[in-house]
Symmetry: C2
Subunit: 231 residues, 2 copies
DNA sequence: GTCTATACGACGATAGAC
DNA sequence: GTCTATCGTCGTATAGAC
């Protein structure tokens, strides 16, 4: 309970770049961090309900009882993973959405970064995005609020683009949902051994989305590069 | 085991239109059908592993033991749901993909029908698309083959469009995956009480996808109607 | 074909020694 | 803070009467 309260989300703000998978780099005692990492792997592989606390503990090289020194329940592990993951999602979208001036550049940056995170950290992202309904009622409500913020950020960019006459979108709310949905689903199908790198998928998707919203000067996106060209 | 072998997938080929949710209309004895329906609901609500056989049986108005008269294991229920659902997916894509001449019309029809099914039958679709990895090894392999066929159908349409000069797609394989992914994810977020009908979402998505692939004469799709206008 | 009763294992979580 | 041992519960699946 004590150790689980990870306030480290402000550090390492350089976004997902490089390392295997430590968005958890600074979780309180080392044992708590190892348990969290083990839980992420197990939940991603088998799902929350199919994962046993014995499995998590043994992956972390500990006895079944050791888990309960650092976390009150199995669900609390999921909650920590989910909370930190969603906070990171919101931050990625916020920062990318503010990193440029024109709506097209902002949208491209947001999609690029969001997709990249879902591919690069697909193990974490899978748990964050697809194990939501295993959360306790109160925790679920908290997470849903974070998800609504992500939705609003994206909708804001689309609205700005429409207002500026840069995008042509008949249904802003529905399109924002579709874009988010497209990005999130990357976590479901992405595999590490595949032919495309997270960067390539981010670039491909940024192009697809810009065309979806009718951004001009985007008849067929280049396969890589072109940092923020679009409007 | 006997009753579970539903060969009725050839009937009712008019695709998902109307009724609450009986893609299962003709499963052998009535009790087996009720159990299947109960399993779909329970799996969609809580997930496969969180659902107990007691829960399924009681939803069907039966004792816990009754389930095993009609199905050997809980996993066999999931397998039947998954198999029938994936067969239907392939058929929807095949028929819609053959229902028109130009690649743009074919793509629009495929997306429209596929999305509509995922929204209309979102309970079934949720199980079909998101409980895959709870399947036994052999069943999983069979289902993956069906999924590959869906992928190939969509990729075929995109290739035809590129060959005909109607689409501009830098990465056909990646884009086919993205389109499929976009449609599938509808099952995750769709709720029955929402503001949009399955038809409206299908229409919206068909427009978004046509723009994604650079189909000409699609600067901003109309919100509804326009059966197969696009190229 | 459906029931009641139950075998048997595994799971989440705790107790208490070290 | 970590261990071994264990409690109580509930899960899937079966046995046998009706």
């Amino acid at each position: 309970m004590d150790a689980a309260d990870t306030e480290n989300t402000t550090e390492n703000a350089a976004d997902g770049t490089g390392e295997p998978d430590d968005s958890w780099g600074e979780v309180a005692p080392d044992a708590a961090r190892r348990l969290l990492l083990a839980a992420v792997e197990a939940f991603a592989e088998r799902g929350f309900h199919a994962t046993t606390t014995r499995d998590i503990a043994s992956r972390a090289g500990m006895s079944p009882a050791a888990l309960y020194i650092h976390y009150r329940t199995k669900e609390e592990l999921l909650y920590q993973i989910s909370r930190v993951g969603h906070e990171r999602s919101v931050r990625i979208l916020t920062e990318a959405g503010n990193s440029a001036v024109t709506p097209a550049d902002r949208l491209a940056a947001a999609v690029r970064a969001f997709v990249r995170w879902h591919a690069e950290r697909h193990t974490t992202a899978r748990v964050v995005q697809y194990e939501l309904n295993a959360l306790a009622e109160e925790h679920y409500a908290e997470i849903v609020a974070l998800r609504r913020r992500s939705e609003e950020i994206l909708r804001g960019i689309l609205q700005d683009g429409v207002a500026a006459g840069d995008f042509t979108v008949p249904d802003v709310r529905g399109t924002a949902l579709a874009v988010l949905s497209l990005c999130i689903d990357v976590a479901r199908w992405f595999r590490s051994g595949g032919t495309r790198t997270p960067e390539e998928i981010g670039e491909l998707y940024a192009g697809l989305v810009l065309r979806m919203v009718g951004a001009p000067a985007f008849p067929a996106g280049e396969t890589a590069g072109g940092e923020g060209r679009g409007a």
